[in-house]
Subunit: 587 residues, 2 copies
């Protein structure tokens, strides 16, 4: 310890570290749990969140720390690695620390990523379980989701085949009269299956369903996953599962899951997903894994339940939001914390010299192609020019009343002079700043970061939302565009504006959260614009409605709910040692 990540692949580091992973009974001792609050599931455990929350309801919460990032390159700037490194660093300082991260989807894992468990000495274990299904939460969501589509499509077939009288006699059901051109819901599968993005189903005869267009999304884009990440308990989950809009009838009225009497069975399939799964870092600090929703149509963060448990069990609880601070942190701040009622203290802004150089005008960074020379050699000018992007993100965090800590995720090519520039700018912008080498050195490499976070946690905070819940949709979007993204204003298409007006006038949507859909590769809606663009207007083309999750999603860009599998996918390199059952080749 630490392992040498320049010589060992992540799965090899994981294999070594996994030999000494805490057993369930050790977790019970270490975390002060009751025996029935932990549910062993092979090498991991589920935590019985309702029992834990009930027992500790009077215990004060720990410090709540969120990890975000500046506008990233397409390669990502190491937010998960930083979250795990921070947990390890706080652990090395003797703190009672833990965290909660998202569960990765099998799609990206088998496509490009191999895993999403961090890397080097800032790694989550057991890595195979984490990367490949864990205790089955995503599968449970997939089954619950698809059951709704089975219910809908079977109903459409039976309604076509039978008269009202027959329907009533056979099933006691009334005719729903689904408009086949207005089926909103699709199917899900946990892989990047572009071939299923647009499909025609129900080909055949009278008993082969109902012929219509349909679609598959990736399982983690499911509204059910969006719901899991924001519910406060099982009753909340059950209620929302009744309210999902599946389609519209021929008069334009929504058809909900409850109309198909399928919400209860969906909840039964999701019954185990409600409890977070307990994993750990390679330095054995506890890390829960719970939920993994998309960062555009959902919060892109691990669950509220996970944070509630963590704040009771740990003095320092670390979590992470998706994308950069403009998109991910904004949702943490105004949606996740509003729904949970929890008050966060510190936001860690993951920053790399590489990303700052890109914002300063460096050449395009393309995944799969070699990194241009500018990124490997000292170039103070590009760093200097890129710094405003970081400062912009620091200011976003400061608007929430939380204390920002810039973490420079150090690469071995970064020079002292480059780092000095960034540190100076961060401190001038009102943030603490730390350099961290957790990938190379684990917790030892993250001590400076840990100390900065401890210091920031002791400073006073004044957490407040950007807008009150009473603010109308278009005003909210205007405020987010100006205050968070730095736009001059918002331009609604006539269709989107009409929809927004309808939503503003219907009190049913008063408690719906605003969930912006925008690229994470720029502060604007245009992924090619780097740095801090000025003099631009945010276009809104549509507002998506998720009635179960209670989200309204104003769209400043197109979104695909089904990624594609690349021409050189990671599954080619994955295999099993048939003597030991160990999985090899996850990177």
């Amino acid at each position: 310890m630490p392992y040498d990540p320049t010589k060992l692949a992540d799965w090899q580091i994981a294999e070594e570290a996994e030999k000494n992973m805490p057993k369930p009974e050790e977790w019970v001792d270490r975390l002060g749990l009751q025996k029935d609050e932990i549910i062993p599931m092979g090498r991991v455990c589920k935590l019985d969140f309702m029992k834990i929350i009930e027992r500790l309801k009077d215990k004060p919460d720990g410090k709540y720390i969120e990890v975000t990032a500046i506008t990233p390159t397409p390669l990502g700037e190491g937010k998960s690695t930083t979250s795990l490194g921070l947990i390890e660093g706080l652990g090395k300082r003797g703190k009672n620390v833990g965290g909660c991260l998202r569960q990765p989807s099998g799609g990206p894992t088998m496509n490009i990523k191999g895993t999403a468990a961090g890397g080097g000495n800032a790694l989550l274990i057991p890595m195979t379980e984490f990367s490949m299904g864990l205790t089955g939460d995503i599968n449970d969501i997939m089954n619950a989701h698809n059951l709704a589509m089975v219910a809908l499509t079977a109903r459409m077939q039976h309604e076509r085949n039978y008269t009202d009288e027959q329907l009533q006699r056979l099933t006691g059901m009334r005719r729903l009269d689904v408009d086949p051109t207005r089926v909103e819901f699709g199917w899900v599968i946990d892989f990047c299956a572009q071939a299923l993005r647009n499909i025609i189903i129900g080909i055949g005869g009278r008993y082969d369903g109902y012929m219509m267009q349909s679609k598959f999304g990736i399982a983690v884009s499911s509204e059910l996953m969006a719901i899991l990440s924001i519910v406060t308990d099982l009753a909340d989950l059950r209620k929302r599962l009744d309210e999902i809009t599946l389609a519209f009838d021929k008069t334009g009225k929504p058809i909900y899951t409850k109309d198909l009497e399928v919400g209860g069975a969906m909840c039964a399939w999701m019954r185990n997903t409600i409890n977070p799964t307990l994993c750990c870092t390679v330095e054995y600090q506890p890390v829960m894994v719970h939920a993994g929703p998309f960062a555009n149509i959902a919060v892109g963060q691990s669950s509220i339940i996970g944070d509630r448990v963590g704040l009771k069990l740990f003095d320092y609880h670390v979590t992470e939001s998706g994308f950069g601070a403009d998109i991910g942190f904004e949702k943490f701040w105004n949606v996740k914390c509003r729904l949970s009622g929890l008050k966060p203290h510190v936001s860690v802004l993951t920053t790399t010299i590489r990303a700052l150089k890109m914002h300063g005008g460096g050449p395009k960074v393309v995944p799969g192609l070699p990194l241009p020379e500018e990124y490997k050699k000292e170039n103070l000018e590009l760093v200097e020019k890129g710094i405003p992007n970081m400062v912009h993100h620091i200011n976003i965090i400061r608007k929430s009343g939380m204390n920002p800590v810039v973490c420079i995720n150090k690469f071995y090519t970064d020079t002292d002079e480059e780092i000095k520039l960034v540190r100076k700018a961060a401190e001038e912008a009102g943030a603490l700043c730390a350099v961290s080498e957790h990938w190379l050195k684990g917790g030892e490499g993250a001590l400076e970061l840990a100390d900065a976070v401890i210091e920031a946690c002791e400073k006073p905070t004044d957490f407040k939302y950007l807008y009150p819940l009473e603010m109308k949709l278009r005003e909210r979007v205007e405020l987010i565009a100006k205050e968070v993204y730095g736009a001059d204003g918002v331009a609604w298409t006539p269709e989107a504006e009409a929809k927004a007006k309808m939503l503003e006038s219907d009190p049913k949507y008063d408690d719906f959260m605003t969930m912006m859909v925008k690229t994470h590769l720029s502060l604007t809606h245009d992924p090619t614009l780097k740095g801090v663009p000025k003099g631009w207007v945010l276009p809104i083309r549509d507002v998506l409605i998720y009635s179960g999750a209670k989200f309204l999603c104003p769209c400043a860009g197109t979104i695909s709910l089904m990624p594609g599998t690349s021409s050189n996918p990671a599954f080619r390199r994955v295999d099993v040692d048939v003597k030991t059952g160990k999985v090899m080749g996850l990177f």
Copy 2:
């Protein structure tokens, strides 16, 4: 104890019994396991089969008991209930007994059945876990299966979009040149989704897959499930996962999973499925659950691995085969036991007065409609006339050299005179016979059955296969048709015969198993012909080839790999108690 199944629903009995279910450490003591041979997974455990088999390799096997049935009515004659009742009865007699059963699919469970956990006092617990996904084996199979389709369809897209030179440069891959009209493999989902039976995929542009016809089957019909049920270990699984035929290229050559470099990742997704899951009866005898393949294109039985473990751990190991003895037992006898090399002792033939009356000319039995009067009142003539069906099945069992035991699964409407008739005929045909009331009374009600099975286990056996592996395909089918089904011969369509000749002449297929596809509702291929039809010929229309499972399936009927969801599905009645997380409404 016993519970009153005339007053309590199965899920209510389960809930009561589950309060005292053995904990992992109790199983370790009771089954004499090492601590690391049991893997707790919530309320159930996985058994580490490789460790157990290795440790006990020199211990003699227990008695191997299979449960089958006469030709059933469409309602089923209670084979699972009888298996569980027998285990309970042997337990009440103080025997070290256990069993292995199939895992049910979510499709039928949410559609008609509600559960497949037996019923009354012959019930498997924990019932919710058993009925709804258990430890995720079916989900793992679904993901592994669909990953192969992702690999195939993505490859077809990339091969269309790129030149040979580009393909080589981007991915190092050669062109497979898949014939889009000859894609054999489909996708799977674990529900009865008739709307996905025939679909068109890949609609859209250049990056939306490859447009072609495609299909979904139910997950348990997957070739991967067929494989899981017959492999002897992980190495065997890994090897077979490389050999699955996905499609043919434009020259007619098969394209295997190994050509897409996806077999290793498929095995990684299936890594946990190799270990059986340990559940128990409501009287707490151990029952493993492992694999749940279709009974037509696969063995329709729980796994060889489960039986290997059970025969080491128990003095009496009970398992069950699908359908009636003509289809299910024949596969147990000639396929499962041949592949495992295990020698079974006793076959229990589940018989009901109801089914015998149907075979004797009673009115049609239709699920969902009230049972005609003939089935509720004494009718010795119908019973007498139906008995030859039972005798035919006894004779099938006797041809294997195993000892038959007829179990009369008693309903409260059955009269003593009716039972006397059946007992006399069974004994004259060379079988032991017992009446059992396990549904009503649990193990106490199954003591007569347990005693008959103990007695039959002590009698000598002379287990031998119906045909040697050297026998050619058409000869095998002829022998099965005549000796097992009672046909006069076999009529091959010209296409099927040409395919059979090709298969007979290619040594590659020499070790492939013969897996008959035929209705279970008649000894013939025609489900309306009851009793023991005479003077008929078995038509064979096609021979399906499963190159990973190494099965050749001669088809005497059409098969659907995707059932439909009915107009009054069971999911309507399933719900969750949000205070306790308990699932209600499974019947």
